[in-house]
Amino acid sequence: MSNLMRKLLSGNEAVALAAKHAGCALGIGYPGTPSTEILENFSILGGSAEWAPNEKVAAEVALGAAFAGSSSLVTMKHVGFNVSQDLFFTASYSGVRGAMVAVVADDPGMASSQNEQDTRLLARAGGLPVLEPSDSQEAYDFTKLAFKLSRKFSIPFILRTTTRIAHSNTIVEYLDESQELPAADYHKDIASSVMVPGHAKPAHLKLRAKYAEMLAWNEKDGPNKTIPGDSRLGIISSGVAYMHAREAAPEAGFFKVGFSNPLPVGKIAEFAKNYDKCIVVEEGEPYMTELLRAAGIPNIAEREEVWRFDELNVDRVKAQLSGDTQYAPKIIKSKPPQLCQGCPHVFSFKPLVELGCIVAGDIGCYTLAAMKPISGMDMQICMGASIGMGIGLRKVLPEDKARKVVSVIGDSTFMHSGLTGLLEMVYNPPPTGHLVVVVDNSTTAMTGQQEHPGTGRKLDHTPAPHTVSIEEVAKAIGVKNVAVFNPVREAEAMKRYIEEKLAVNELTLVVSRQVCVLAAAARAKGK
């Protein structure tokens, strides 16, 4: 007999624990707020956990493990899902023999992201099923369920969390027992797993048939629940928005959606019949609202545009329910984030600002260099874009301006998606050449100092079998000038070198290397 345990856990901790209990053989991902702590906790619990160079590679590894009959977990933030999308849109066709669960953490309100896209829409476009927990208990339960259903329906499952699920602690009750799964093995099945047109055409039909089966299961047995209430108002909700809505309107009737794609429209239509009016309370895009209205359920209210933006809370849900689109929360004045005291990025940007550079930037702590007082970054869109954007600018700007263009990318981001940018640079060099500065603080600092292929350490900070050298990679790809400087101790030399290389029509990569002050302190403590 296993004991019933009770713990206060974050959503991320709950996902990790459930993966362990579900017999997940491999957890892999790329760090991204608010998803990062899942794999770190999975590792602490004794699970096999790894950081991949990026989300696409992580999803590929997870899919391979699931092809071999294992259970795999892949974690990422919403924008990382885009990076891996090429895999997912066809893995839904091929399906899996074992189980594959992708946890995708959305960030409505953009606490630490560049956009607030809604994973449910992307998953639906790819034919991928989605579960949405509303607290840590459900993060635990739904992760286990996702592994079970992935095996049952032979398809990767998406668990959509949000910042307030991932980073809120709530009570979780669970049985302390792990499931033993059969050992991985390979059974040849070329028609299911090689997606050439001849196989993919029937696979697409098979996906839609599977989709219909999942819908039928969800309508009948899905993890959705109904709470009867005052017949004047029925609320349809999912995720943490459900918790806000229960608090905002305790008297209303509720249909709580746990399995949101394919959406159990039939069951919701039955629910809606009992209420004068139904309002959908959902964070992000009007995903359920539009599907339910398109299904012709007559009393589902249209959603005002204002609720698409930012995260919800009890006050905003109250405003939505009362039709108050003018509601504005009191603004709590806050100090914006800034680069740490002694941060090497400050020194890396100094010469670029002094030389009047046009800086195509990237994603990381150093994005904060765009803010005052440095104001040293001119553009930033997504992981790895700095190099391509810089090349594009160089190709069309008049020569005097083109010469000022520099791409700045961090070490972890370089590993994630900088390599293909360098290939473009050497293959299609701009007439004025180009200059890339890799601001190498030897960690994935922004998400909390995670390791990557260039740090020489694995996810659990133990030594890696190989350390990738950024300068050697750049030389091997064919970048003519490659130099390494310490931005603090060799500030003058680094500035002179950059100035010199901006003046010639050559390709240059400067590694500005000094370890992150927080990582240095953590490593000194033995982490």
């Binding site: 206060l8 608010p34 630490s112 980073h167 602690n169 709590i332 100090k335 914006p336 984030p337």
Partner: protein
């Protein structure tokens, strides 16, 4: 112990690196162990870089949203008043504001213990035995920091009530 029926809302606010998240973790774990339903919410990530940070701890019989609604903060632990006093616009009627001015911070052996000293002040208002606070605090620090944090807690707990 008499369980409070309504929800009590505590916000801990300060700047990144001050131990806001550690204090809310200690507090929520203690309340959980005392048998309450507890939810704790915060945003981390970019806000760690020296920017404003806050964490909500809500407890009672049945907590729904993890975030404190506007105007419902019962206790505000304002660890860096210059910035964190901004949360005062969301206080409930009769709310208690706790800040480093409530104790003699110069007596702290470790200046990083302001968070635990503030929990000490808060402990005067919550009906939980002193030894339970001290036991829980110890769980969250390595042994070499136990004495400094116990002192910090007691400094807050035994400081003169305003």
């Amino acid at each position: 112990m008499q369980k409070q029926r309504k929800i009590t809302n505590i916000r801990i606010a300060g700047l990144g690196g001050m131990g806001v998240l550690k204090a809310s973790l200690i507090l929520s774990e203690l309340l959980f162990e005392e048998g309450f339903d507890v939810k704790k919410a915060e945003v981390h990530g970019m806000s760690q870089r020296g920017g404003s940070i806050s964490s909500d701890v809500r407890f009672g019989d049945n907590v729904l949203s993890p975030m404190i609604p506007e105007g419902q903060i019962n206790y505000l632990l304002s660890l860096q008043p210059e910035w964190s006093d901004a949360h005062k616009i969301s206080l409930a009627e009769g709310a208690i504001v706790i800040s480093p001015a409530d104790f003699d911070a110069s007596k702290l052996k470790n200046s990083k213990s302001v968070n635990v000293a503030a929990l000490g002040v808060l402990s005067r208002y919550l009906d939980i035995p002193e030894h339970r606070w001290l036991e829980t605090i110890k769980k969250f620090f390595p042994q070499k920091l136990h004495a400094a944090n116990e002192d910090a807690f007691l400094l807050g707990r035994n400081s003169m009530a305003k």
